[in-house]
Amino acid sequence: MQAVVDTCFLIDWAGYRRRELLKSVFNRLLVPRQVLDEVRSERTAELVGQWLSEGFLYLAPVTRRVEEIAEAIARYAILNSRIPAVEEPEVYGLALAKAYSMPLLTENRGAVRLTQLYPELRDIRVMRALEVLALAIERRAIEAASREDVEKAFAEYIADTKHRFPRKDLKDTVDRLCRVLFGS
């Protein structure tokens, strides 16, 4: 499976001790140029350079079709004051995801909410770190033999990145994983 990755996800994920884990979930990540413009720290730059050279990260060309979708998405975001702001990197991330029917890896609430609000964007699968980690656990890329192991996997990410998952989302995800993995 390929996915599109945006700025906040990539930068956050770069600080995770098991950042290479992403390769067990996805074959390749497409990244819009606007995302790379935001990379500056040694840790993220090193990761991006390594992944680009390995071909795991691909600097996606922005075609006319992607531009058209991006313009429509920007229009939605500008005209609707009730959703949080969606900025240029996320707009292009959403447009690439829509154009190539790929999931979008993002932590941007505006991007998530646009896909919940507009029927034309509902087919975009948005994945936060929470969903990516859940998929990695489900595929046994992270070993988990008990509920404690599942909780520990999320706790590691939280500790490394100073990221908090919404309480209810985390509980629902852990409950679901325990049902799938252990039948409890």
Partner: protein, 77 residues
Amino acid sequence: MKLEELLRKWRAEDEEARRIRRSEADWSFIEKQPPRIKAALKYYVEAGDMWVASRIAGLTVDEFNELRKKANIPVVA
């Protein structure tokens, strides 16, 4: 989900996220920063929007994220 229901859900999510950011932030670190950085960190605590916060600070998102960690402000998503 109906629009009003969706908006209620988003409001509740935003309030929870803001409460977490406010309570965990290192306010003494934030208050010691130069004006532009301080304004950006305070904006991030309230709004949770890293791209806009980074523009206020005059930094890239990556640079602002390092500052966010030093200020102990969690990303809530």
